[in-house]
Symmetry: C2
């Protein structure tokens, strides 16, 4: 399966790395908006090309994995390239998924290609687990907790404050609330009761720490609804202790069965990830396998993780899966 | 969707109860090998019939849920009835799944019906999670822990010992080993290091407790490879504190990504169930929905949870799922 990557940031690099772990996949080209000569990749056999050459690769790539951002890249790119390629994206702006789906579906149907959108862990594996758990326990409550992990958006919001040189923000589930859910207590939780926010901030020389802290903890939407802790640290400390991009979280469904609805059940799915892009890209590659198989079967149009039978993700045959994994 | 139940033990009762929680399903008939007049069910609108009348119901039932045991009932029943009905079973003898699949597949293809076998939580939801996690993290280790929960087979084995009036056996994961896996330490675990076995035993009058305990803890296959604790209790205590059928467990995959394989990830799926049959039957009903939909689309043959796209399990439309669960 010949794979192309569009966009070579953290996610694109992750896909390149994941391809090495999947012997049935091969990276053939990385497309970039930058000058290709300035971009170094780790796969000698793959080409690095400017994105304006991508149309020439229509017959040389089985699946194109789009590694751009959800804000501006993917809404434009996925509909555009789904006409030419089987595509995978990780579009994660939950509220805009229905509109994105429609746009991509139209293109993919026009090109008779398969596109799978919103692949990753949330949306993605977390969505799958929400859906399975809801279908199995119709009477119940859903809970999602994120973290402990780095929120890029919140880190960026801190960096925009005057006097801040650099910053990293961790989203942290409130342990007590998580335990209450696991115990089947079905708590009603406010935003503040679900997560806390922990910030590590490097100040510019001469900046007013008190003022910066005040601006962070009172920032609407991002921090004011949370219990937020701010730690001021040196640039060296930030580099040494906070350069990773860990993440994870928990999806729980707490439901009941029985004629008297007195049997309680808890379904829990959790991820603990050293590297958010490292893991997300591994999910993208597994779904690339599914997209290509569906395409070869004559399928086309836009799909999500809900539409893909699990066996399509695995390199193993159906017989092997039944024998070894069922 | 009109549902028939074959076999009215704990699982059959669970299916009847689960049907009440799913407004798009309706119980129309329960088939039994017993005298139907002696069997009381909770659904006034449904018929109770002897199994030898089942052929007359071919056109009145959309999906037949087989609620017999894996040892002798299902190997015979599922192939037999998959010719006449869309069928769901919970066949759980892992080693015999490939052979059972072949038998059922032949029948279902002959009858142009859909049969989904080995539905439940293990095999079933645990299998799904093993498979997804393996497809996403090809470099890693799998761990499955069961419990804390009642093992019917082990309880029965104790009951067969001379001097034992009644007994209940709990399989318990070893907390330290579970934590080691969750910490990404990738331990190699022996049988003894994974689970302990806790037994609650009611003796016959005049039985020799020491002798019974010795026979339990030294029993090959069942107990001799485990650290086993035996508690002797009264019949009243057993009834009061151990009459439920709780179960659950953990499926974990611990894997790595990155060019240097230095990013560790843990995927964990766990269930905490008040009632094993109550939960299993809820899974059966969700897959009955999938079987019927696939049948209406023209599909036929034997399938497993690996072959079923998640959306087929949900009563919600694809649009609704994308909007609310993705």
């Amino acid at each position: 399966m010949k794979i192309g990557i569009l966009g070579y940031g953290n996610l694109g690099r992750g896909v390149e790395s994941a391809i090495r772990q999947n012997p049935d996949t091969e990276l053939v080209a990385v497309f970039t908006r930058r000058n290709p000569e300035n971009l170094k990749i780790q796969t000698p056999s793959a080409k690095v090309l400017n994105v304006n050459e991508i149309e020439n690769w229509k017959d040389k790539i089985d699946v194109l994995i789009l590694c751009g951002g959800s804000a501006t890249d993917l809404p434009e790119q996925t509909p555009k390239y789904a006409k030419m390629f089987n595509c995978i994206d990780s579009f994660d702006t939950h509220a805009n998924i229905p509109a994105h789906f429609e746009n991509v579906d139209k293109s993919a149907k026009e090109g008779k290609k398969v596109a799978i959108i919103s692949v990753g862990w949330d949306p993605g594996l977390f969505s799958l687990n929400r859906m399975y758990a809801n279908a199995i326990l119709p009477d119940g409550n859903d809970y999602t907790f994120w973290g402990r992990g780095v929120s890029q958006g919140h880190s960026d919001a801190i960096r925009r404050i005057k006097g801040v040189k650099d910053a990293k923000q961790y989203t942290v589930p409130v342990e007590k609330s998580l335990q209450s859910v696991k115990n089947g207590e079905n708590p009603e939780l406010t935003t503040r009761q679900k997560h806390t926010r922990e910030c590590f901030v490097v100040l510019e020389d001469g900046a007013d720490a008190k003022q910066v802290e005040h601006e962070i903890v009172t920032m609407p939407n991002y921090f004011s609804d949370y219990d937020t802790t701010v730690h001021f640290i040196t640039e060296e400390e930030l580099k040494k202790n906070h350069s990773g991009i860990p993440h994870g979280g928990f999806v729980l469904r707490s439901g009941v069965t029985g004629f008297n609805k007195d049997e309680k059940h808890i379904i829990e799915y959790s991820l603990k990830l050293d590297s958010n892009p490292g893991f997300t890209s591994s999910v993208l590659v597994a779904y690339a396998r599914a997209a290509y198989r569906l395409y070869k079967e004559g399928s086309f149009g836009c799909k999500t993780v809900f539409d893909i039978a699990p066996a399509y993700l695995s390199p193993k045959s159906a017989e092997e899966l039944r024998k070894t994994m069922l």
